[in-house]
Structure formats: C-alpha cells, structure tokens
Symmetry: C2
Subunit: 224 residues, 2 copies
C-alpha cells in the first residue's frame, strides 16, 4: 500500500483535470432469485485501469459489476449487478466525463423474464431459456451528441485483429484494446494490442497494473 502510494506520487499527472468513467467486471443477469448468467471476468483489468487513471491525476469513477476487488485509492465506485443497471449508472455519469473506458464484460443477452421465485426442477429432462439482447453501452455512449473520448475493449478467443478492427469501426471508438481471452480473462497478467487510427500497437505481456499504465500512457498521448 505504501509502495503503491509512493509509485502514484511519482506517476506523471498526464490525465490531470480529466474526468474518466470506467466500467469493470462481469454483469449478472438473473434467471430467478438465485440463478443467473454471468461470465468469468474478474474485474482486475478494469480496476487496474481505474487505479492507473487516478494515479495519472484523473478524477476516476468506476461502475463495477459483481466482483471481489478492493476499490483503488481515490476512485469513486458504483456497484451494479445487471447490464441494464450498468447502462443506467453510466448514462447518469457520462455527461460529466471527458473519457469513457468500457472494460466490463457486459452480458450481451439477458433472460427475457426473471422468475420471482426460485424455479423448481421440472419432471422432464430439458428446459429452454429465452434470451433478449442487452443494450450496447459502449455504442450508446459513442453515439451521444457530444461523446467523451471512448475506449473499448474486445476480449476474443480467436481472430483478434479482425474482430477488433470490425468492432472499432462499427462502434466508432477511437481506441480499442484487444486481448485474447486465454491471455487475460480471470488471470493476473494480460497481453493486449491497441488499435487506433494509426494502426496496431502491441503492449508487452505483464501484470494487469503494468498493462493498465501502458494503456493510460497511450491514451494520454492521444488526448494531448
């Protein structure tokens, strides 16, 4: 903790005066009062980015899905469960933000209806869950009349460059951070590639805190 404070003190304040809004973690989409659909996101990358932004002098607000992570020093945290709650929290805070970084692994789909009471096992063998699409928070933010500078994340299990380029174009975000699921999701380390108008920039494999600092460095350069 002391080491972290000293390191933060010596970090150049390249995001001073910037308000950064970040989402992190998975979302949990209820099937009934106890069950739900979620994903293996640990929230570590988003929390590391919130910390790196705060260390770089930004006013950082973190909208977090259900994760077991400590709030970084100096970061304002808003806890949510579902994609719809995350969208609401983002929309209430995005107008004040200069930068939006969507790190959360937001569930693309949610059950069409959540049962009020715990579903009982039926006699039969199978069951079907109807899912409906969740809002695309990053795309909504990027489509605002006066959008903040938007940074997206793409976690893929294959064809990273192709998917990342497509996602960046479709959502119209200036900076997209791509990573292979097998490199990062759930773990302590990550290896990412940054995609922007000038091309493809590899960040060396390392602890998520170091990767987050490299992303913030690149971001600060684009904002300068």
């Amino acid at each position: 903790e002391i080491v972290a404070e000293v390191a933060a003190f010596f970090t150049p304040k390249r995001l001073a005066g910037k308000r950064v809004l970040i989402t992190a973690g998975p979302t949990f989409e209820p099937i009934d009062p106890v069950r739900g659909i979620t994903n293996i996101s640990s929230g570590k990358m988003g929390f590391a980015l919130a910390r790196a932004c705060a260390d770089a002098g930004a006013e950082a607000t973190l909208v977090a899905g259900p994760v077991a992570q400590a709030t970084p020093r100096g970061v304002t945290r808003i806890d949510v469960q579902t994609a719809l709650q995350m969208r609401d929290a983002v929309m209430r805070n995005v107008l004040a933000a200069n930068v939006f970084i969507g790190v959360a692994a937001v569930a693309d789909y949610r059950p069409a209806t959540a049962a009020d009471h715990k579903m009982k096992k039926a006699g039969g063998d199978g069951l079907t869950i109807e899912l409906v699409q969740n809002p695309d928070i990053l795309a909504e933010v990027a489509s605002l009349p006066n959008p903040p500078f938007c940074v997206g994340f793409a976690a893929e299990s294959q064809n990273l460059d192709e998917y990342a380029a497509t996602k960046r174009a479709k959502k119209r975000v200036p900076l997209l951070v791509g990573n292979l699921v097998q490199d990062g999701m759930g773990g302590d380390d990550n290896r990412v590639v940054l995609f922007d108008d000038s091309g493809r920039h590899e960040v060396p494999h390392g602890p998520k805190d170091a990767v987050a600092e490299a992303i913030v460095e690149h971001l600060a350069g684009m904002l300068a």
Copy 2:
C-alpha cells in the same frame, strides 16, 4: 487466526474419527469459453461447515465450486467448476466417507452444448439456450448401497417447510438443513431450520460460523 486456533482447541471433538465429505459454493456451467450459468452462492456456509467439522475432530474433505474463500485449517480441498466435475470428485471420495454434507448450490441444469469459441452477438434480437438436467449428487450419494450419513441443504425463496420436508423424503436423507434464500445466500449470516425424523429444529439467526457449529452439534448427536 490465533483466536480461531484457540477456539478449535477447546471445541469438543465430537466428530473424532469421522471422515466428512462436504460440497460448497455454486457450480459454473459453461455456455462458451467465457460465459456460463451460475448462482449467487458464496460458499461461506459450506466452508464454515468444513471448518466446524474439522474443529470437531473430523477428517474433512471439501469439494468446492468457484468461490473466493480461504481453505479452513486442516481441511482437504478439491476445486471444481461444473456439476459433472463435482459429481466425479464426490464419487471418487465418498466411499471413504462416514458423513456426506451437500451444501453446494449445484446447478440443476447445464447448457446442452458449450460453444468452443466465444459466441458472437447475432443480428437478431433473441437467442435460446437449451438446457439439460444435471445429476442430483445428493440423491446419488443417498442411493449408494452403503451410503454415508447424508445431510442435505435446501435453499428456498418461499414455502420452506413444505419444500424441505418433500426434499428430505424424496432424497431419503436423515437430516436436511433448510434456509430461506433471503436469509442466507451470499451473506455473512444465516438462519436455518433442521428437519429430521424427530421434527423441526430452529437454529437461531447468527454468523455462518456459529450456525455451522450448531449444525455440527446436532449432527454429532444423531451420529452418537
């Protein structure tokens, strides 16, 4: 930790010589490499019971789904993800056990097929997931030719007494611990009711460690 060791030292060894196999936590049933169906079980109750059994002198083995809990001192831990993996781990260890306590909130259903690669959002609005039923681990253990003494858990959101009695009869377990989801699941405290041949026994509301000790006390009485 020192307090815990002192408390353990003074705990009567009412389960001395008993081998207890316990399941804890949720299971995670993959939809694809990152998504899955799970539940809000924290694993706290199962871990508290493993600790209480070990403190009471038992040789405790804990089969745990994905949770962020520290292994209690003196407990052997086996980590699993899915219901099928939990069933395998239980079946490999149950023949040596005198007591089986199924605390895990095992998913009743799993996706019929898990995609090898992360599913991409389709153009359309909806999606359907086909689910198939998972094995009922507690019922399988209770149906073994020479079953260990079986303790089941029932977490319900309503009609606790009725569901618990039905579950105890159907699975043929001598002791069933019932709790209302809203009282316990995910939290630090719990309030449970024990159902056995002699009727219904309320355990006072309290921290999960204290509730676990009361359950072990009752269990030891039944084994004596």
